[in-house]
Amino acid sequence: MAFTIFFVCAWLIISVFTVIPKRLTLIENTFIFLTTSVISINWTWIINEELKYVKITEDPSNYAGFLIFRSIIIPTLLMVQVNLYNPSSSPVKKALILIASVLCLVLLTILSRVLDVSDYKDWNLGFDAIYYVSLHLFSIGVSKLIRKSTRIEVKQP
């Protein structure tokens, strides 16, 4: 069940990313996807496997759902968020985009607990929420850093 739900969620988020107007270039979007993937993968490994704060399912199909969430949904949602966040001029709109995006991840985390993908041992949802907020701020920082330190030249058609 978890596999199907997370697969559909991944499809939905990729579709949203495909249809939204992209204010970042392919290079900038790739930087955000790759850096947040590395953090997401390392974070989940350290929290789940090294510190054992969260127990991840041993059921193969549910585990596939966990992998989709960790490696596809989180980085893609962050790309969507930065593409919507950067062009917004009002701070209220920026805050609403950030909150909505964090909320999506928190809801998916709750869903993963409901579907027995993960089980908190010495952890709580608040820590996950703090992590998601930090990850969002990090992705915004990466986009600003790339824009500041590089001069991406698009080829003329």
Partner: protein, 167 residues
Amino acid sequence: MNFLWEIFDKNEISIMVLIAIAYTIFFILPFKFKREITWLFMLLGFTIGVFFDFTIGGGLFDFFKLNDTDHYELFDFCYYLIFAPFSYFFIYFYDTFNVNKKTFIFYILLWIIVGVIMQWVFTKLGIVEFQNGYEISYSFAVFVITQTFTALYFELIRSRFRVLKNI
């Protein structure tokens, strides 16, 4: 559990030597790509290493052990750093040799052989230890996917952006 290393021996020294060799070559080669392209493909190589290792090399599948243990330690991270310059070399020579539709398959095959040989060397040096029925021939599929993806992605980037410094 030790976050630095389990036992500092052959595999840790080998990783340090390999990093030194790879990054020396990286700095010796003339920088032909724009800065963001160099960073992008180094990051891509690093991420691919992390992605595959944490997906099939750990967790439920756990097909290989890195540096004597299944736990995450400093030299695991150093091992992923080796992937970054190799990803750069891959696109560096792809561009240098003007790989086209006719030579694409041969170029990918050549790098797959390089990848599999490197993985074999890693097992001999004790950096990687296969387990749970994993065989080196399975890495062929991993390299087919990663190297074909990297080449196609480079083609996409090159079609949309200026990638070379001097143009």
